[in-house]
């Protein structure tokens, strides 16, 4: 079991507590889920509970962290702690050291002082539990995010510890991959493992969670039986994203009717192949000015491949894409960037400047747009980040970084804004804020196209839902009446 008693922690070179007088007990065989806004201290809590903060990080520590009844300070090193506890981090890529799935898990088993036959048996059993048997010879770069996360979990399970800590293991995974992780954790819980997990996807994990903890600004603000905790309306908005009313607000303001609006994106028999793999199979689609379109589908269904054609990051293998009357085949990426803004899933793939202002200015300068300062301030106002103008972008929380990514694109004033999974890694409130921003942008006249795994977002926010599967559009309809 894990016990944290009155734990406070301040990172080196900072003055504010990352954890503040936090007390928490994870009893043997139970599953505790910690949730809260990005930047609330969830990862720090995981590091503290695993004893890593004590052994690897400097900073100011107070209170007691005990694992299986023993103070983490009494463990000689991380390797000693690793005999008791296993931790899975949110970035699966960083947890794959070797070049095949089987090798990764086998290597973790080899250092446990087990007999060779026991290792082979345990390897086979773990591969089955984590649905990895068929992937055993795959290399990391040939695995999907969900598969990689299962490998990281499997390698941690190989340690054979009864206590598991998982830091947002499904943050970048789609519905199917998330359900698989939940199924694995359910069977581990049934085997008597103690699980501490930080997550945003409460609905998926509800069936295995015994205690729900809400962490805000380093302090626990709610804790207890999930059903009881969720009766508090304020907590509910953090735990479960509530997108209700976003679309209807748009209807109240009566934007122009769709048929009257000009088509801004026309996709005609678009085909795209990667080698022998057909990623898009002759699809056709028209999106009108001012629409809010959600593109849904599982990983690998072709959603991202489709939108990358809108600004010519990908060139059609067959067919055409017409953006505001111009064929992308005869336009450059820079020209298209004036009309189509694309916000990728991971905002950290774009930040390089020293300040938020410079980051937003980058796109404006690239396009040679005059009066940059006014555009920067206006974009930052739209996403509520004006106060961070002079901060270093990577210091912002995940939610703020996501909004900054949107501002960086909005500042370039494209009429079409495409966003790939804009609510990844965000809590309920942050996700709602992002979707409200997008709705406001639509009201201001932009066409919004959102790629999402989350059907709730599509249902509650979009005017139109396009569902993709295996490179085809399988449905294109208005959201069902809610």
């Amino acid at each position: 079991m894990i016990e944290l008693n009155d734990v406070s922690y301040t990172y080196p070179h900072t003055t504010q507590d990352a954890l503040h007088r936090l007390s928490l007990a994870v009893p043997k065989g139970s599953c505790i889920m910690v949730t809260g806004p990005s930047g609330a201290g969830k990862t720090t809590l995981c590091l503290a509970a695993a004893g890593i903060l004590h052994h690897e990080f400097g900073g100011k520590k107070e209170g007691l962290v005990a694992l299986e009844g023993k103070d983490v300070a009494a463990y000689a090193s991380l390797s000693e702690l690793a005999k008791t506890i296993g931790i899975v981090f949110d970035d699966p890529e960083a947890q794959m050291i070797f070049t095949t799935v089987e090798e990764e898990i086998l290597s973790a088993l080899e250092y446990r002082g087990l007999e060779a036959q026991v290792i082979e048996d345990r390897l086979a059993s773990i591969m089955t539990t984590t649905y990895l048997t068929e992937l055993k010879n795959r290399s990391p770069h040939h695995l999907s995010g969900g598969q990689k996360q299962r490998v990281a979990l499997a390698a941690t399970l190989a340690l054979g510890n009864d206590v598991l800590i998982l830091d947002e293991p499904t943050s970048e995974l789609d519905e199917h991959a998330t359900r698989r992780i939940v199924a694995i954790l359910k069977s581990l819980k049934e085997q008597g493992k103690t699980i501490l997990i930080t997550e945003h996807k409460y609905a998926h994990f509800r069936e295995i969670v015994d205690t729900l903890v809400v962490l805000e600004s380093g302090s626990i603000t709610a804790m207890g039986n999930p059903d009881e905790v969720m009766t508090d309306e304020r907590v509910r908005t953090i735990v479960i994203p509530d997108f209700s009313g976003i679309r209807t607000r748009q209807q109240a303001t009566a934007t122009p009717a769709k048929p009257a609006a000009a088509p801004v994106v026309e996709v005609r028999n678009l085909t795209h192949t990667y080698g022998d793999v057909v990623a898009l199979n002759s699809i056709s689609l028209t999106i009108h000015a001012g629409e809010f379109v959600a593109i849904v589908g599982e990983n690998g269904s072709g959603k991202t491949t489709l939108v990358k054609h809108f600004n010519r990051l990908l060139f059609p293998t067959g067919g055409d894409v017409i953006i505001k009357g111009k064929n992308t085949r005869s336009s450059t990426i820079t020209e298209l960037a004036r009309d189509v803004g694309l916000v990728f899933q991971n905002p950290d793939h774009m930040f390089f400047a020293d300040t938020v202002k410079d980051e937003v200015e980058f796109g404006i300068k690239n396009l040679g747009i005059p009066d940059g300062d006014a555009l920067i301030d206006s974009a930052l106002d739209k996403v509520g980040l004006r106060h961070t103008r002079d901060l270093y972008p990577r210091w912002l929380s995940r939610g703020e970084r996501q909004r900054l990514a949107i501002a960086s694109v909005v500042a370039m004033s494209p009429s079409i804004i495409v966003l790939d999974e804009p609510t990844t890694g965000l809590d309920g409130n942050e996700a709602r804020v992002v979707m409200e921003i997008l709705k406001d942008l639509q009201l201001a006249g932009h066409t919004i196209i959102v790629i999402t795994h989350n059907r709730e977002i599509a249902q509650q926010c979009a005017d139109r839902i396009i569902t993709m599967e295996k490179g085809n559009i399988i449905s294109d309809s208005e959201p069902e009446a809610v």
Binding site: A94, E103, E120
Partner: protein
Amino acid sequence: MAEILQYVHKDGFFHRLNPFSKILFIIVVSVMCIISTNLVFLALLIIALLAIACAGKLYQELLDQSKLIIVMSAVFILITLITMPNGALIGYLIPEGIPVIGGLVPITMGGIEIGLILTFRFIALIFTFQLFLISTQPRDLVHSLEKLKMPIDYTLMFVIALRFIPTLQIEGNRIHEAQLARGYNPGTGFIGKIRSVAPIVIPLVSNALLRSNVMGLTIDMRGYRTGKRTVVRELKFQARDYGMALVMALVFCGFVALVLSQVL
């Protein structure tokens, strides 16, 4: 996607060899490459390496490097032509008819020969190391180097550096795309090139540093540094390894004899 120097899971004879046999193979071929200045011998060595790759079902993986090899070869030959003019003059890289710069960079037999020697050496060395790395599981490599008393931290560092080549390549592409979508247009000319590096390299390095932090913790939390390992699925020294050692010994003796008799 180019998967440079990545382990390829196959069942070929080179995969079944003990890593030590392959290390011996690398040493012998590398020494011969470095000592020999005979073009015919180096060409035969490359053909032999391709034949070995063919037998070990790794031919395609070697040929995938053609682009890199062609570019590097051109660079080697150009550098030697410019810096080491020697022997009979064949002509000029810049024709004499052109005013002012005409007649610069003489093309000489000696220059071409040295360029070709460097190129052939380079190709042979690339093929040799590639054969070793793509046929040896990093786990076996770590354990072999451990037996040679290399500290585990260094061997893991080496393995991880190789393992992350494709990952960084993919990440670099994603960053490039994210910046292109913001109208990033890499400038032309030297200054433009230098300026255009920051938007790609800064996110790449920042993300890699964050990742290295998690990776370090993962290595510790999986107990890799405890040094107490149970030996599982170890590749034993078998008849084929003795055969390889014998062949390498004979090849090397033959090579030494040829060098001493000044044939090579």
